[in-house]
Amino acid sequence: MPAIQLNIPQAYPAQIDLPVPKDPAWGCPRAVRVDLDNLLLAIEALDLQATEIMLYLVQQLDLESVIPNRVSLWRLRNTNPLRRNYQRATLQWDEAQALVKIICVLARQLNTQLRLLVTTSQQVSENKIDILGLQQNRLYLEFYLDRFRSLFLSRMRSPSILSDREIEDLSLHLLSQLLFCSGTAGELRLWHSLLDGVIA
């Protein structure tokens, strides 16, 4: 396997303060588990090597206490109730925070691609691709959409709860969501949007 090259800034802020809601002791709400898994799935659709990089990031970000190995990462992702292998396990707050950090670091790596794909999906929606002669960008976007759909269909419960159209809308929404995750305050923004209303 080729060596994974990542340029993670050395002075990466290891400790970001993500506030945890006080009262619910039951772990993350269902919607949070679904959203986090969808974001990870979109990252995978952008880069098939992403799972390896995720595991590598676990060490880099000192998250080994939360995610000790590959299986535990798989287990965390399967707390998504729509998963085929859903085990009715819950996601603890520290585990959710770890996933948020991994998502945002990966999104930063993918920032350039995300910019291109979001711009392209805008151009597609405005029918400007052919005028601008950017057909190859459209192909790239379609490649992502296809890959996301096949990943979604193979991992989630069958028959799919979403129609093809809805899967496409979801994958496009995830692109812009990931784009905003890739910002400086990505972790905080993502965390607050996930727990909208739960935390002060």
């Binding site: 910019r115 711009t119 812009s176 969501q177 910002g183 400086t184 923004r189 949007s193 909208d196």
Partner: protein
């Protein structure tokens, strides 16, 4: 000392100017800022108030995008609102305080430009050396404030209280005394006969349309109707065969998939949309007087071809294995709409009630009798080999033992519980078709020894409803066969003596099949004579 900071991004540059107090390099007092968008060179400039408004509205707007429902966000002079999926409109209305010659500004931003604007602001907010009192805005736009929640709860509470007051008042209104009956009952001391419970009336079967001309025109109409409505590209791999019941007006009143092996997304097929509920005033159909119907076989092929044929034309499935104990009057009952509905309702009912994880290894097949109201009157396990914990199956709970010994009009269905959690409810005919397939698979899988015989071996094999082989017999007796090398002996289920006697009293569902083993390894299973 004057300090300048720039946050530069592909689509936007944020320039902040201010004064640092003391020796440190910290920018602690803002004099002015400038935010310039790149291809367009549009520029927002102003003082601290405008910057605060910008930070707040952009922050909460981005949060609402993250959350998935984009809502306009506005703070004082700055307003952001969505314009389509990828375009965002930024209005800035600076006051005199912000700039010497305030001009309203309207900028259209794409999502990526908005990201750069937000990123510039986020970098500024996270920069500890610049304006440390500036914080991120993480409250999404359109969030319901707590005070608003209160405002919504108050009327509701008032409503409930009002209802309670009204109810209390009505409580004190005297109840009018019951008027004595004008025609008193005859003064006989005979106890009143217990009023008979209204029994659910069995739904009469719909009449079958026999007029050939009408059938032909219905066929044509149905074809046109389905063809026009079928727009989705086929996603299935094999032909889908539907039985469709049509009334005299050409409306689809019921349909059912006949090749049950396929899993179909019926939303992609037009039948669901075209079906008309039965109580249509125009045609006068209602559960009591069903409308006359004609049956058609509709085939959807993966290539997009559609065929519609009247049911009579198609070679009927083998009638032999169908149970005769069903007391539904006409033989066409299987095809009738009522049966379809009973079948549907039964499946839904059992499916809903079946919650325990299956612990059995083989398919369990039950014969379930259902009365006209859809209640389960009786059920019986067809399997012999399996021991079943019936508490884990829903039938026990759902069954309503009928009190009247008189035979009700019942319909029999075969309910199959699979270890995988699949549930099938089939009529006798459908079961026979499934059983044939199951038997073929079963024998095929178990037949491993290479054939050593020279000519075809023809066996008559009896199976029960669970697909278990209860008996078999070689028909071409001239040959001598080493039955150890054939799978039948292994697959045969020994009927335990105890059950044997009881099963003699209540004859089991059984079907005969002709199984032919060929010397070249070929296997054929046909419904038996």
């Amino acid at each position: 000392m004057t300090v300048q900071r720039t946050y530069s991004l592909p689509n936007c540059t944020l320039l902040v100017e201010g004064i640092s107090l003391g020796e440190s390099n910290m920018l602690s007092l803002l004099t002015n800022f400038e935010c310039r968008f790149h291809p367009s060179q549009e520029c927002i400039a102003g003082g601290r108030n405008l910057l605060d408004a910008l930070v707040k509205s952009v922050g909460s707007y981005v949060q609402s995008i993250q959350r998935g429902d984009v809502l306009p966000a506005s703070t004082n002079a700055v307003r952001l609102e969505p314009e389509g999926l990828y375009v965002h409109r930024l209005h800035v209305q600076p006051t005199e305080e912000d700039s010497p010659n305030p001009q309203p500004l309207e900028i259209q931003l794409s999502t990526v430009q908005l990201f750069d604007l937000a990123e510039g602001i986020d970098q500024l907010c996270s920069d500890r050396q610049t304006l440390p009192d500036l914080t991120l805005a993480l409250e999404p736009a359109g969030n319901v404030k707590k005070s608003q929640v209160k405002a919504r709860i108050v009327p509701a509470v008032m409503g409930i209280t009002g209802f309670a007051i009204a109810a209390t008042a009505i409580f004190f209104v005297p109840v009018p005394p019951p008027k004595p009956d004008l025609k008193p009952q005859a003064q006989v001391s005979k106890p009143l006969p217990a009023e008979p419970k209204p029994k659910p009336k069995p739904t009469p079967l719909p009449a079958v349309i026999t007029d050939k001309e009408l059938i032909a025109s219905l066929q044509e109409g149905l074809y046109k109707k389905i063809d026009r409505a079928w727009k989705a590209t086929p996603k299935f791999k094999e032909d889908l065969l539907y039985r469709v019941a049509v009334n005299t007006e050409g409306e689809i009143v019921g349909y059912k998939l006949t090749n049950s092996s396929a899993k179909v997304d019926e939303d992609n097929l037009p039948l669901k949309k075209l079906r008309v509920m039965r109580t249509d005033p125009a045609t006068g159909g209602s559960p009591d007087t069903p409308q006359p119907t004609a049956e058609f076989l509709v085939t959807f092929t993966p290539k997009g071809k559609l065929t519609v044929e009247p049911v009579g034309k198609v070679a009927p499935e083998s009638d032999k294995p169908v149970t005769k104990s069903s007391s539904v009057p006409t033989p066409s009952a299987d095809l009738a709409e009522t049966t379809l509905q009973l079948q549907d309702a039964l499946k839904k009912k059992i499916d809903k009630a079946w919650k325990a994880t299956p612990k059995f290894k083989e398919d369990l097949v039950y014969r379930v009798s259902v009365d006209a109201a859809g209640d389960i009157v009786s059920y019986k396990l067809a399997n012999i080999s399996e021991k079943v914990d019936e508490d884990r199956l829903p039938l026990k709970r759902l069954a309503i033992p009928s009190n009247s010994p008189a035979p009700q009009s019942t319909t029999d269905f075969f309910v199959t519980f699979s270890p995988s959690g699949k549930l099938d409810v089939e009529t006798g005919k459908e079961l026979a078709a499934t059983l044939e397939k199951k038997l073929t698979q079963k024998i095929d899988r178990a037949w491993k020894a290479a054939p050593k015989f020279k000519e075809d071996l023809v066996y008559r094999v009896s199976i029960n409803a669970a697909g278990e082989i209860v008996n078999y017999e070689l028909t071409n007796s001239s040959v001598k066969v080493d039955e150890e090398r054939l799978p039948l002996k292994k697959l045969r289920v020994e009927v335990p003596g105890q059950i044997k006697s009881s099963s003699a009293a209540t004859p089991q569902f059984a079907a005969d099949y002709t199984v032919t083993f060929s010397p070249n390894g070929k296997l054929s299973v046909k419904p038996g004579q």
